[in-house]
Each structure stands twice: as structure tokens, then as C-alpha cells.
Symmetry: C2
Subunit: 432 residues, 2 copies
């Protein structure tokens, strides 16, 4: 039998195999016709994608740094190639600078800040662990709910909405409840309140508990020094002062956190979250133990990683201290304008929600509207006339406050002028 | 006291308040200086963002539909404005078409397919629930791990890597284990195997269990009809045949799933996942009960939602049936080329990993390399010479196979020609 005839036989055989695949596949025959299909939605066939240029000053999302925005038209690369991994290394370095830490376990999760809250607590809380949660708004309430789901015992100490805790109050809580973990929201975005971290790290070391801090509203806005302040785990999001799109959550675990995680007796509840058993063998972020068997965890959102890399490069190029000062100055300018509005304009009636100045957050400001004014009407009018987006509160404050954020690229004097002008316009035109 | 003097007093008072905020803020004084800061990373200060145009045919991520890619330079809008909500409505409509369902509870989660697996099982599995998992690769193993974490009892039936289950085998499993949920991976991406769904929905109704299907590797590739096939819950990702960036997870729950979820006696473990208590009050997606108190769940990744909307519009415009046929044709062309390579080229030695033709997945093809050839070397050479990205397997197959995917915009004859040409080049040049 010659070569030709073998080839011919094989070709016949191959054709038969393909015919078999064709026949058995659900993709074949009548199933491939559009008969009997639910029709495609008219709205997708006919409507264009309509978007608007906004100045986003509602306290999150903010606008993006120019470099971050520009990175999004870059092509998607493969998960495993060196050019992708190099960008992830850059992100890790940038996040270490941002958090002021040398923690190896510093990376960005796909998913956003709310998911990161779940993930960090799932890893750090074992059933029976007491978690002390100073609660002064939405985020402490949620943290307690999360801790309970993972079998932990949340112990809340509570402050009135619009205020925060003294170091003494936190220490009293620690002494009373002897927690394994203290969970602190550095900036309570629902009320515009700043919780000072001064001395809390030392306190936690003294009492042998871990300190976890939610930096969502404060990272890049006010000074933070993870290592020298002795913070054991932190997370943030990307769409506020980082000036990158929503959808990722930077996270960092210190040595004491990793010790607790690797000596856990129970598995975290979420496979996705599980650092000890899963992330630690994930090679993408280059944080796995060299000897560990590599495994596939999940595909990472490479475009968002480009964007985060470029946002972090913008922050590194400006320098953290300069960025903090810029946020401080923009907020001070906004405060002055609000004060002037209240006084010189003959009393617009806008007042601070946070009465004690030392509790006020930099970057995110919560205001009470004049009597009779619906913040939602103000928000809609300002959006329509100025294309400026403010926020009217979340959680317990929904619809009750005017929330203004000068964050990331928007922490600038000209943006503050724009905001003030828009609010004056709104108050004047909505006056009853 | 005249008006001027009141104003003056107020101004003095305001200045004092700002001074107080300034003094107490951690942002003030020496803390704002860059002294003592860990330095910014050189790599972010000096290196540009380097990316490469790739033809991504490793079976995920794939390249994006042009409209999806183009949407990413659109400006970010606010979370609450009507223009944003309209885009989310479009996404819901597009996903309903994609899944062929009228389910109200159809939306896209921030986070990706691996997270969606966690979330869907967290919602549908209560402690003590038996979950039947036909397991024939990485994803069934992971599903079992997840079910166990949530207190469920995973019951695996197992098939050799490279094969799938008959309806009879699935029915036997159901009869033996009496599961509350049957969890099926429609396309096992680690091995390139297709698990037929024919008859499984009816079976699950007959035996009073829910049918959950992982559509990650198959949605948009082969026919799927959620409603008429009686599937109770599904999820997918966005970076394969949907042709949108990695980072979101479309999900749909049918009536029977929602009944189970709303009558749960225990809370899901993850706050983020919890549909009954949290998502159901989230107004963004317009799926909450009209009377329910609204709450803030999380910020959604609006840019990714633009991209998904545009990808779904591309799919709707082409029509599902046409898209399925296109994937079928591209895969058939690839099969023919592989067969020809094996025979006419005098035996390259590339063989199918999945020996039975009827088990082979459309869109994602797993090949065994010729003896002595390291798939990693082939992947690297092809990337370098052709800028084509193939994959070398994940999970149990890592480094053992050559995985090729013609998915989404890449399911085209010219792309198949490119791939075949690159593989021929690679095999020739790496021949020992």
C-alpha cells in the first residue's frame, strides 16, 4: 500500500470523525437556526451607547488620571506572558509605595472594595474569633454582618453618626472584649467622618490583636504609613483618590496577618478568597512560595491592571506627600467656600453634617441641605446644568446629605470653584 | 450689632474651625512631608507601560469585539444617573437574549467567572444540601471544594480526563445521591470536553433538584436555551466568546432558584454574594422588589459595563444562530487543518487530547504535542514570531496540552489560517 493510499484512507477517516462530531454536537442541525429563538432586544440593535462627560465629585467614583484613562485602549495580552507579569510587578511596587509598606503580600483583587471587605475578613476571622468594630456609619455595620457570617463574634462600640472614637474609647473596647481582630474604617464615607489611627497600631500589638483598616475613602488622600503605624491588613478600592476605574481592590497583608492565615485550622468560606490554600499557589502575582505547586486561580482583568498601573505611576510621579497636600488644600478651599456661602450669601442654610471639625474627613465632605431642599433635586439640577455629579448619601444617610468629594485628579482648586459655583446656582434656583 | 459685625465674627469663627481641623488632622504638619517615606518605585517613575497587539487564541481571554474595545475610552459616569442605569438595562436585555431566558434575575457581577462560581453556589447551597457534580476536569473538582466550604455535601461522579457523561450516568447519579442541586460544567476548559445538556433539565425537574450550569467556555459558542432546556441558574465570564474584557460575570437565576434562595433558612456566607438580603435591595440593576428598602451594595464597574453592553450589541446584531454557526465553522476548519497536518505533513505527531469526537468542545480544542515537544516552548516561539497567544493547559493539564480557542471575534477562517500557519512553523522549528 503506497503513501497516497494511506493518506487517502486517513482523510476519509478524518472526514467521518468530523461528520460524527457534527452530528452529535448540540450545535448541529435545526438547533443552529434562529427559529424559535427569543428575539434580540431592540434596544441593543437600535440604540447607540450614550455617555456623558461628567465632573465626578460625589465622593466616588472620581474621574480617572489621564494616564489611567489612556491605558484602556491598549490591547489585551495573554494571562501568562512576561509583559503582563511585568505590569503586575509594577502594580505591586506601586501599591507598596501607596500603602507605605514592604509587605510581600500586596496586590489587587478583581472585584472592588465591597468584595475586598468580605475577602479580608474571610481570611482573617476564624469561627469564634472576637472582632472589635468601632461603628459610626454604614461600613462598621456591614463589617459586623460579615464577621457574623464567617462565624466570628462581632463586638461593636458605637458612636453617633457624624462623630468618631477617641483612642481611649478604642482601648476600652479592646480591654472589654479582648478581640482577635480590631476592624477600623479610616474614613466613614456614609457620613464624611475621619477616624484617627494614631496610636491604634501600638494598642493592638500591646493587646495581641490584629489591626485591619478599611482605606477606601482615605488612601492617597491623607497620610497613611502601614508599616510604621503597625497596621496588619488593609484594603481599598480604585475609583476614589487612586483615579482608576471601579472594579479592583488593592489589598495588603502584613507578616502577622500571614501568620494567622497560614496557621488557620479551618478553611475560609470562599474558595475565591482563600489565601492559604489557593492564592498562595497562584503564580500570576509572583507571591507564591517558590516550592509550591502552581494552580490556576482565576483570570485577572488585565485592562484594569493597565489602568491601575498608570494611576499608580501618576501618584508615584507626583509623590504621595504632594498628593496629600493637594487633597488637603482642595478640601480647605471647599470648606472656606462653604463657610462663605453660609455667611456672606446671607445664609444659604447649608451646614456641616459633621459638627466637630476634627472629625471631618479630608476629600469627602458631608453637608446638610437647607430646610425644605431635597438633595436629590439639587443633584439632578447640577448634573443637568453643570454636568457635575454630586452624591446624596448612602446607607443610613441616603437622601439626607449633600456629599462632595474632591478626590484624585479632582482635588484641584479649579474643580472646587466649579463645584461651589454649581451649588450656589442650585441653592438659588431651588429656593422655595 | 450690625450685619457686618455678625459676618465678621462668623468669619473669624470659621477660620478658627479650619485651623482646628488643620491641627488635629493626621494630614497636617510634618506628616505631610515626604521625609521618612518609603521612596516611589523607580519602575513606575521611569518605565513606560509596554503592551503588545496579540491574537489571543489560547481559549480565553480572547480579543474583544471592536465595539466593546472602542467603548473603553468613554467617560465614567455617576453610579446613580439615568444614563448609567439605561446602559445596565441594555446589558440585562442582552444577557437575557444570550442565555435565551426571560428571567428577571439576569445581570452581571463585578469580578469574573471564578468568583461567580462561588457566588452562585453560596446562594443556592444551604448546609446539608447534597450537590451532584459530574466531574471531568478542573472545574468539577473546584465546585466540590466550594460546596463543602458552604456546608453542602458534594457528591462527585467522575469521568476520565478527556471524556464526559451520558444522560444515563447523570440520572444514575441523581437516583443514587438524591441531590438538591446538580452542578454541570457545560464546557470543561481544562480538557476541551463538551458535556451535553440534552435531557438534563427534564431529569432535574423529575427528581426535584435544581440544575446549575457553568457556561464559561460555551456561551455564545454553541446553542443554549436556558428556559426551554429548564436550567435553573447559570453563570459565565466575559472574556471568551463574549469578546469583552475580563472582570465581569453574567449570571441568571430562574424562578425555582429564586424560590429556593428566598426561602433559605440560613444566610449565605458572603455578604457580597447574598442575593436574598442584599442584592434584592440593590436598586442599580432595577431588580429589587418595588417596596423593598433600598440599600447600597457596591459600586459597579461602569467602564466594564459599557464594554459588555457593546459586546452584547455585537452579538445581538450578528444574531446568536449566526454566531454559533461561525464558531462551528471555524472549529471545523481548525479540525480539518489539524487532520491534514497529521496526515499530509508526514505526521507532525499532534493528536487530539479528547479521543471521542462527540466529546470535543466547539471553540476550544485540546491537542497533545508530538513526543519530546514542550508546549511551553511552542507557546513562547509562536508568541515571539506570530504575536499569537495559545495556551498550554490549566489545572491537571498544565504544560501537557496545546490549547487553542477560536472564540468571539476570533472565530473566523482567516484567524484559523494564522493559527495553523504558526503551529506548523513552531512544530517544524522545534523538531528535535
Amino acid at each position: 500500500m503506497g503513501f497516497d493510499s494511506i493518506t487517502c484512507n486517513k482523510l476519509v477517516w478524518c472526514t467521518l470523525i468530523i461528520a460524527l462530531w457534527t452530528c452529535t454536537l448540540e450545535g448541529s442541525g435545526h438547533l443552529m437556526s434562529s427559529e424559535g429563538l427569543l428575539p434580540p432586544p431592540k434596544t441593543l440593535l437600535e440604540d447607540p451607547l450614550i455617555t456623558h462627560q461628567r465632573t465626578l465629585v460625589g465622593g466616588g467614583p472620581s474621574n480617572q488620571y489621564q494616564r489611567s484613562l489612556a491605558s484602556l485602549d491598549r490591547p489585551v495580552m495573554g494571562n501568562f506572558e512576561n509583559s503582563s507579569l511585568k505590569i503586575m510587578e509594577d502594580v505591586k511596587a506601586g501599591l507598596r509605595y501607596l500603602f507605605q509598606t514592604e509587605n510581600k503580600w500586596t496586590l489587587a483583587l478583581s472585584g472592588g472594595g465591597s468584595l475586598a471587605m468580605d475577602i479580608i475578613l474571610d481570611n482573617l476571622v476564624e469561627p469564634g474569633d472576637v472582632v472589635l468594630i468601632p461603628t459610626f456609619g454604614l461600613w462598621g455595620v456591614r463589617a459586623a454582618d460579615i464577621v457574623e457570617r464567617y462565624g466570628g463574634i462581632p463586638k461593636k462600640i458605637e458612636a453617633a453618626l457624624g462623630s468618631a472614637f477617641s483612642l481611649k474609647e478604642i482601648e476600652d473596647g479592646i480591654v472589654t472584649y479582648k478581640p482577635a481582630v480590631v476592624y477600623i474604617t479610616n474614613g466613614e464615607s456614609s457620613t464624611g467622618v475621619h477616624q484617627s489611627l494614631q496610636g491604634v497600631g501600638e494598642l493592638c500589638r500591646k493587646h495581641y490583636c490584629l489591626l485591619v483598616v478599611d482605606l477606601v475613602a482615605t488612601i492617597g488622600v491623607i497620610p497613611f504609613h502601614m508599616d510604621s503605624w503597625k497596621v496588619d491588613a488593609v484594603f481599598s478600592n480604585t475609583q476614589k483618590a487612586l483615579g482608576s476605574p471601579t472594579g479592583m481592590a488593592p489589598i495588603s497583608y502584613g507578616t502577622r496577618s500571614i501568620e494567622k492565615i497560614t496557621s488557620r485550622k479551618t478553611k475560609p468560606k470562599s474558595y475565591f478568597a482563600d489565601l492559604k490554600n489557593n492564592w498562595i499557589r497562584n503564580n500570576y502575582w509572583g507571591i507564591s512560595d517558590p516550592g509550591a505547586a502552581q494552580t490556576f486561580h482565576s483570570s485577572y482583568p488585565i485592562l484594569q491592571i493597565y489602568a491601575l498601573r498608570e494611576a499608580l505611576a501618576s501618584i508615584a510621579t507626583e509623590g504621595l506627600a504632594h498628593g496629600w497636600a493637594r487633597h488637603f488644600d482642595a478640601t480647605a478651599k471647599l470648606y472656606t467656600a462653604i463657610d462663605n456661602m453660609t455667611t456672606i450669601e446671607g445664609g444659604s442654610g447649608v451646614t456641616y453634617f459633621v459638627s466637630r471639625a476634627e472629625h471631618r474627613l479630608t476629600g469627602t465632605v458631608a453637608l446638610l441641605p437647607p430646610k425644605g431642599l431635597d438633595p436629590k433635586e439639587l443633584m439632578n439640577l447640577i448634573r443637568q446644568m453643570y454636568s457635575i455629579e454630586i452624591n446624596i448619601g448612602i446607607g443610613p444617610m441616603t437622601g439626607k446629605i449633600i456629599r462632595i468629594g474632591v478626590l484624585g485628579p479632582n482635588a484641584r482648586p479649579d474643580i472646587v470653584d466649579e463645584i461651589v459655583s454649581a451649588i450656589k446656582y442650585g441653592l438659588k434656583n431651588l429656593k422655595k
